[in-house]
């Protein structure tokens, strides 16, 4: 499958009063047509900022974004980071849909949900009011909203959190995007609703043939849905692998730590969950060495003097680490 999105060396910095925050430091990845890519990592590791940088969705104008983000739609490839505003608006919601974390605040309280979805249809597909309304109702039914026609005129507060997230998804897919970016869409929901939302997105993905980027810190959800996983730490991609490969053969000490911290069904009840000692690094310092070295059990001299590049450690599997965890020695060339 050809990639529809190629991100190369994405760097996002925030100029704040306390100095420059290095939120994303040279992130590169690809998304193939129809694939599900999960981006995982702890809070503040730059998952959301990376994808929001792609569509220039970071408010306030304090972010400096550089790098390349080639988006291919049909035969046309364009760099999202250099698109002029009017064209970028066509991509947002047209070819790329976005679902946010908090469905409670992502809907305007004074507009009916129908109007908010129809807005996107009129904008991108040039539909008149009546067809936009018909299509909105059709989409609402498609995301599993019972009695969609009568719910068209309802206001957001009349919906539960799970229902609102369905509305948000309806809004994001209304124009048939090639790529859906879901930024922790299930974090604010309880577990049964989480499962429903995951199922819904997977079903829509098959029906519409979209690629999905799913951002989460929940490795349990990732295991149930992703094709490929990208692990981020302190604004960098530390490991990238196919789903099973990552769970069976993690190569980066951080990934190993993350997986070790998961509770398992066959664990003894009294055993404490493992944790990764220490906290994430201060992003205000410009990275000059491996950012995980502070917490890494295998860190050695080189880790403190250079930033590791992603190196291939298996088929479709890369890790940014100088240490070979399988052999228990530093990698070749170090």
């Amino acid at each position: 499958m050809p990639p529809i999105l190629q991100v190369k060396n994405l760097v996002t910095r925030f100029n704040t009063q306390e100095g420059v925050v290095h939120a994303v430091n040279g992130v590169s990845f690809e998304v193939a047509e129809g694939e599900t890519l999960a981006i995982v990592g702890e809070s503040g590791c730059g998952k959301s900022v990376s994808v929001m940088s792609l569509l220039r969705l970071i408010p306030g104008g304090s972010a400096r974004v550089s790098g390349e983000a080639l988006f291919t739609d049909g035969f046309k490839t364009s760099d999202l980071l250099k698109l002029p505003d009017p064209e970028l608006r066509q991509v947002r919601g047209g070819q790329i849909g976005f679902v946010f974390q908090d469905p409670l605040s992502s809907l305007n309280p004074v507009l009916t949900i129908g109007e908010q979805i129809a807005e996107s249809l009129r904008e991108h597909m040039g539909l008149a009011d009546a067809p936009a309304r018909d299509r909105t109702i059709e989409i609402l039914a498609r995301v599993g909203l019972p009695d969609a026609a009568s719910r068209y005129g309802n206001y957001p507060h009349q919906f539960s959190g799970g229902m609102r997230q369905r509305v948000m998804i309806a809004m994001a897919i209304s124009c048939g995007p090639k790529l859906l970016i879901a930024d922790e869409p299930t974090t604010a929901l309880d577990v049964t609703i989480q499962a429903q939302i995951v199922d819904l997105v997977l079903r829509l993905q098959k029906e519409l043939g979209m690629a999905v980027i799913w951002i989460t810190h929940d490795l349990g959800i990732v295991a149930g849905m992703a094709d490929r996983v990208l692990v981020m730490y302190a604004g960098q991609v530390v490991e990238q692998a196919l789903l099973d490969d990552l769970y069976e053969r993690p190569q980066h000490p951080y990934t190993i730590g993350l997986l070790g911290a998961l509770p398992r069904l066959d664990d003894v009840k009294t055993k404490r969950l493992a944790n990764i000692k220490g906290g994430p690094p201060d992003l205000r310092a410009e990275p000059r060495h491996c950012q995980f070295a502070f917490r890494c059990p295998h860190a050695f001299e080189r880790c403190w003097s250079e930033i590791p590049d992603s190196s291939v450690v298996g088929p479709a599997h890369t890790a940014a680490c100088f240490y070979d965890v399988e052999k228990g020695t530093p990698r070749n060339g170090s």
Partner: protein, 314 residues
């Protein structure tokens, strides 16, 4: 009827935000707001008083008993009708020139309401546009606008008024313009604050993420959310303007003395406070009640439009 209508009057106030209370048609929702209104006796009183003043202003010709400008020295310094020397022909008495106080108060409401209404419209209009620019564009535009706003707020407005009145003369239009301009900064601040809040909200972010144009965000997402807070501020500001206009009239800086306005009447009665107290008392009462009615209405509006405050009230 729904179960809410069956609740005892002292029961909990139904919540606008609760999914069960305002589902359904517009008329149901209006009825619901009406119920909230009747529970707040202050608001009912405020509305009644305000409507009375509006009625007086609109039908001054019909309900006044005399020409408010007609002087008649034969009946000057008449006490109000219920006093022993009073005559019901002049229910609130007459002033030192024999003008009917009741009719003058009726006509005086026109000045107060005109100043309050148009002053607020100008101030809110200016404030809305400027505040939107400041809040939406942010950065240097915001900094420049807020500097100007703070300078205007720091100017002693009385000095401003004396200057304008001295240069352009005393007229109703000048008073309205002065109030409209000097009061705009309040609206700029409120608008800017709300726009900043709304612009960083989740729903604007999601509107941007589906490709909404800036104009669409301003008109569909920001403006409707501004109406509530601005309406509340407008009520309070209108009350303040009515108050200030009376103050300016009293100082002789507002409408010419020939025009019956409450402030002018107050000033005329000042020298007779000890001997003929009613001349200054009745216009004073009119000012206080009008201002009070607007404040009561404003309080209620604020409570209704801000669910968090409403919940805190008993």
């Amino acid at each position: 009827m729904s179960e809410q209508a069956l609740r005892p009057p002292g029961g909990p106030i139904p919540q606008l935000g609760a999914a069960t209370s305002d589902e359904g048609s517009l008329s149901q929702r209006l009825r619901y707001v009406g119920r909230l209104f009747w529970r707040d006796k202050g608001a009912v009183l405020g509305l009644a008083l305000f409507l009375l003043v509006v009625f007086a202003a609109l039908f001054a010709e019909q309900i006044s008993l005399h020409d408010p400008l007609q002087q008649n020295l034969e009946v000057s310094k008449q006490p109000p009708g219920w006093m022993t020397a009073g005559r019901w022909e002049y229910p609130l008495g007459t002033d030192n020139l024999g003008r009917d106080l009741y009719s003058r108060i009726i006509y005086g409401s026109r000045v107060s309401l005109t100043v309050g209404f148009f002053g607020v419209i100008i101030a809110a209009g200016l404030g809305l546009v400027i505040g939107m620019f400041a809040g939406y564009l942010g950065g240097r535009v915001d900094g420049a606008i807020m500097t100007v706003v703070n300078v205007v707020l720091a100017l002693p407005y009385l000095l401003f008024v004396v200057f304008i009145a001295g240069v352009f003369g005393r007229s109703l239009l000048n008073v309205i313009l002065i109030f409209g301009i000097t009061d705009a900064p309040i609206f700029v601040r409120v608008t800017r604050g709300e726009v900043l809040k709304i612009r960083s909200s989740g729903y604007v972010e999601s509107a941007v993420s589906i490709g909404a144009r800036p104009m669409r965000i301003i008109f569909d997402h920001i403006l409707p959310n501004l109406i509530g807070p601005l309406l509340t501020v407008a009520t309070f500001e209108m009350s303040a303007m009515i108050f200030y206009e009376a103050g300016l009239s009293f100082l002789g800086l507002s409408v010419p003395p020939s025009v019956p306005s409450w402030g002018n009447m107050l000033e005329a009665g000042r020298s007779y406070l000890q001997t003929l107290p009613w001349i200054a008392t009745f216009p004073g009462v009119a000012i206080v009640l009008t201002s009070l009615s607007m404040n009561l209405l404003g309080d209620w509006l604020r409570d209704v439009l801000d669910p968090r405050l409403r919940r805190a009230r008993k």
